[in-house]
Symmetry: C2
């Protein structure tokens, strides 16, 4: 009950200032309501199904604390967009829950917001709302992304049938080898690589490339699909198990980049790392024989590399054939932080 003049305007908290300076400029889409309401509001397109995904990345767990903040922001968004892509969905927007250490600094935040805004624009997936908090722990970025597909057209994990072809986009194993390079730069195998090959592997770990350009072709041609985030073999096992089928893939057909091929030639036991290490953010899909050529043509015109790596088998279980044609036994099939 002091005698001061009463406040007449909302006083801006640190959080308000942070949002105003770094995040409001990103919230250009009308559904964000300028970040001036409690929620985001969007009218779904007529005849569309809503597809929703959340994935978080944590400093020291999913990225290195000294990774560039703009790349961290892009990774946080892209790991979610990769799932939407694998389901044939078109992104519509995302929500951001950001937990920040007290000492994060304005430079980091400015870089983070710049990276996030650039990706939101280039993938057509605007920031629609969020929450920022202080944490005594590491930077924790939880994104919930959502998109739409024509009603009934989502590509599911379940749906693969015996006789279909297993295809993978892009290249497999680069990110897992890039992580190894980041952790063990002096490992002898990396001494054989030139700067360009090293940069390729490092970049593939740092920055996923969600295959959104393939979404409509997937809806048209694929019988089942999964985002390859936990390792090619483990994710194929998940797709096959939920479809009630098995699969056989051949290592010699798996699309390895030239840099990965150099590493695997020099240290063949890293094949397991490449096949199971995760962070590929490629799409693994199954295609009926009569659709394969059209799917490949559609992928080509979308600018996405697509490689047939094996086939769906009637009996459950996934078999990986090594270069010599013998079954490859893997100590683990996918990556887990637990």
């Amino acid at each position: 009950m002091r005698g001061n003049k009463p406040p007449k305007k909302p006083s801006k908290s640190g959080e308000d200032r942070l949002i105003e300076r770094f995040f409001r400029p990103l919230a250009k889409h009308p559904a964000a309501l300028g970040l001036m309401d409690d929620v985001a509001l969007m009218t779904p397109p007529a005849g569309a199904d809503l597809v929703l995904k959340t994935d978080a990345i944590i400093g020291g767990v999913h990225f290195f604390p000294d990774d560039a903040a703009d790349a961290v922001a892009k990774k946080a968004l892209r790991v979610n967009l990769s799932d939407l892509a694998a389901k044939g969905a078109k992104p519509a927007g995302f929500l951001l829950a950001l937990a920040l250490p007290q000492d994060i600094g304005e430079d980091w935040l400015a870089d983070f917001a710049r990276g996030l805004g650039a990706d939101a624009d280039s993938y057509g997936c605007p920031l629609l709302g969020g929450d920022t908090d202080l944490t005594p722990g590491p930077v924790t970025i939880s994104i919930a992304a959502f998109g739409f597909v024509p009603h009934g057209a989502m590509v599911r994990r379940a749906g693969a049938k015996a006789g279909e072809t297993v295809v993978a986009t892009g290249s497999i194993g680069d990110a897992a080898l890039g992580l190894l390079l980041r952790r063990e730069p002096k490992r002898p195998v990396f001494a054989k690589l030139d700067g360009k090959a090293k940069a390729h592997l490092a970049e593939r770990y740092l920055l996923p490339q969600p295959r959104l350009a393939l979404a409509s072709a997937l809806r048209e041609h694929a019988s089942a699909a999964i985002d390859v985030s936990d390792g090619l073999v483990g994710d194929l096992m998940k797709l096959a198990a939920v479809s009630g089928v098995g699969a056989q893939i051949e290592v010699k057909r798996v699309p390895f980049s030239p840099a990965a091929r150099m590493v695997l030639a020099a240290e063949p036991s890293l094949t397991e790392t490449a096949l199971t290490g995760g962070d590929d953010y490629e799409i693994l899909a199954t295609v009926p024989a009569e659709r394969l050529a059209s799917f490949q043509a559609a992928a080509k015109s979308a600018g996405v590399e697509l490689t047939a790596i094996g086939r769906i088998e009637p009996s459950e279980g996934v078999e990986v054939l090594a270069e010599d044609g013998r079954p490859l036994a893997l100590a683990r099939t996918s990556f887990s932080h637990f």
Copy 2:
């Protein structure tokens, strides 16, 4: 290239086992796809707008590390549901991004999942998907909740007009006083309270009560609304500012619980804490004069207390009149962790 038998089934990681044991039983809604796909999938109701919200709570920041895990889960969901309620939306589901310390323990997880499942059922807001990660930091629970409103019917913050009545649901200030009680149990003012009054304040801090029962009445009668999470005065300032109006409220009309009244009578300077401390998770709304009686009747039949506390003024700025009728000056108007 070892000679072991190749694995035939997906090997279950620690994360898979955790999901299977604690979270799959909650994912009963068909949109969750049994947590067996990359995403959740829902067909929006015809003619509905989609309302989306994300809010996170962090151990040691938004709850005490020794709070019961089932209450923590409920709080994490309810802080999001409170926003949907204030917008007049009906919850449809939520996604959970959960970051857990290595040593969290199965008892904590079992209690957490039990609390989350109970609230998901009682509020009709099912778990549709999620992500679990290990963190070197504290438990961090990021929820993205979404719901639907009839097209065009969402109650916005902007929309209050001069002459309208300002109303608040439930009681104000209990949670802020409950937090103070938790932090300073030996503060002299609390010695005057009996066990029941103390339990009331503590419970109001621990467990928000989202006013979803009021959602349809808000859509029908309110011109603007906001969820009171950062303090009554600060949240009213936000509503007024974005509506381009001002407001005057009277402390003597603010709905304080009997427990809060006892505290404020004994230590009047805590009035500021009660009015600005946050965590109320009540709804502040504005109502045209001709709608007030119908709104009050609708609230009564929904079982939600609704109290008129002031009016909207044409000129910007929010004035709080103390018990003695003089303007109250507040050192701060809302709560912020920053």
